[in-house]
Structure formats: C-alpha cells, structure tokens
Symmetry: C2
Subunit: 140 residues, 2 copies
DNA sequence: TATAAACATGTAATTATTACAAGTGCAAAT
DNA sequence: ATTTGCACTTGTAATAATTACATGTTTATA
C-alpha cells in the first residue's frame, strides 16, 4: 500500500518512520499541493499522536533531500508537491488553487546561470499567476 | 529628485502621496530586494510618522498595479523589486541574498499556458535556488 | 537487553501579516 | 476662505504561520 512512499524515502536517503511514510504517502496520493496544515489535519485522523511540528520537520526534510518540492508561489502560505519531475505551477489569484503545467527540464532551465558564473543551482521554479478558466468565467 | 518615483506612480495609475513617493523612490534606488521591514526601517528615519501598515498597504498596492514585483522566492519572507522588466531571480540558500539574472520575456513565458487553455496569465516568475559564488567558496 | 542515536511530541515564543477603527490631510465645491 | 467628503495613513490588537527547545519515545545495533 505505502510501498511506493517507503521506496521514495529510501531512494532519497531518508530514514523511514511511521510518520514519514504516512506523510510521503499522502503527498503521493493527493496532488493538491497541500499546506503543512492540510497534511496535518488529514493525517491526524489516522495517526492521532501526530504533531504539527513533525509535519513541519518532515516536509522540510523531504524538500531538502529532493524527495518533494516546497512551493512558495502563494505569499500567504507555503505548499508542497510530491511530484519532483520538472513542471511549472500556476496560481489562481481568485480561488487560490495551484495548477500544474507541463514544462520540460530544458525549458525550466532556459537562461539559467551557468557553472562559469560561479553560481551553483540546485533547483528551479517557474510560477505563473492569473485567473483559472473557472474564475475567469465568474469574473466576466 | 523623486520625480522618477512620482512619474512611475502616475504611469501605473496610483494616486501619489508623500509616503507612496518615498517608498517607490526607495525601491528605485535600492535594488536589494528589500522586505517590508527593511523599507520601513530605512524610511522611518526620514519620515518618523510612517507606519508599518502603510508600508504593507503601499507595497501590496504597487504589486497589484504592476508598479513593483512581489517576490516569494524565500519562504521565510516576502520581498519586493522595483524593476518590473523581465528577469529571473536567484536565492542563495546560505546567505539568503537575492540576485537578478537576465531573462527575456520570451524565455520567461516559454511553455506558458496559452489563451486557448482558458487560463489568463498576468505574471510569471522564474526562481533559481542554490549557492552564490561567495558562499560556494566558503563551503568547500 | 543495554545503549546511543535518531525521531517525534507539545508547549511556548517569535514573527509576519492582517483587521479594524480612528485620525489626518488634501481637493473639490460652495 | 470654509466646508465637506474621500482617500490615505496610523496604531493597536488580533490572527496565523513558523520555529525553538526541552522532553519523551522509538529504533537499530552491539
């Protein structure tokens, strides 16, 4: 059931624990770009002893190890994405939903500082903002 | 002196006030990607009655009107950029500094959802993260 | 099973941000 | 010039997100 989550943790050199597996499993099954709070509220049901601090620590760890992405597209809240293959994100300024958009690795890193610049790049994010089709209708 | 700031406000349809002009002037003269607090602390000297709420309101207004950019590259703090022409941003994970990198409008919007998708795009941000040349040296 | 290291927990503190009500000052109209 | 209204600013208080830290628990290994 949670084998995929466990494997992902091992793959990224993260020591597995009940909580970490559950959180990774949640990320992999819910592509809703959840916040810390959303993950906490959802998992608190199954694991009543889970603390919010653990969710903070764990998601931060995942992001540091490259097992998940930390998204800062919405200034009001940080959210997370279990999909680490290259893609872009879109934030609707009306409903606040975050959408995925296809973008190749090549496109993500177009114009990115090269090694010669002396900068070492570890991640790239492409964020679009505007209005999703649903909200666009409502507004007109 | 602050004519450029005043003109920018008028250009973006923002009613000028002493505070708004001073804040825009600060943004235009300091390309340091300041936070609300940094702007507040700096200007509080010249304008002792300036309140932090006003800085919040004003920078938010600038961003909404397109007269400045709100950057969410650093999850720890929102910062602002008075340069609204297309370019990318780089955050050093060690020292926390934000650097500008050249990027054409075309490159910024590579792979961006088209009108046919039903999405309306109002802004795009390209963020890189890693280690700047200074910090890279220290780490090795 | 003893021990140490790694993890998780909960509370409290901190910080960033927003809400809101009251005050101020400019600008148009009389 | 004076009044009136509106936009803007202010300060305080509330809210929400995040972090620090000390304690407790689990896990792995000898």
């Amino acid at each position: 059931m949670m084998d995929s989550a466990l494997n992902t943790l091992l793959e990224y050199g993260i020591h597995p624990s009940v909580q970490r597996i559950a959180i990774m499993d949640y990320l992999q099954k819910h592509h809703t770009h959840p916040t810390v709070d959303e993950v906490y509220v959802a998992l608190h049901q199954e694991i009543p002893t889970l603390s919010k601090t653990t969710v903070y620590n764990t998601l931060k760890l995942f992001a540091e190890q490259g097992a998940a992405q930390m998204l800062t597209i919405d200034e009001r809240k940080v959210c997370f994405d279990g999909v680490v293959t290259p893609h872009a994100h879109f934030l609707c300024k009306d409903c606040g939903k975050v959408f995925d958009f296809p973008l190749s690795e090549e496109q993500m890193y177009v114009g990115c500082p090269t090694k010669e610049s002396g900068f070492e790049i570890t991640e790239a994010h492409v964020y679009y903002k505007g209005y999703c089709s649903e909200c666009k209708k409502k507004r007109s």
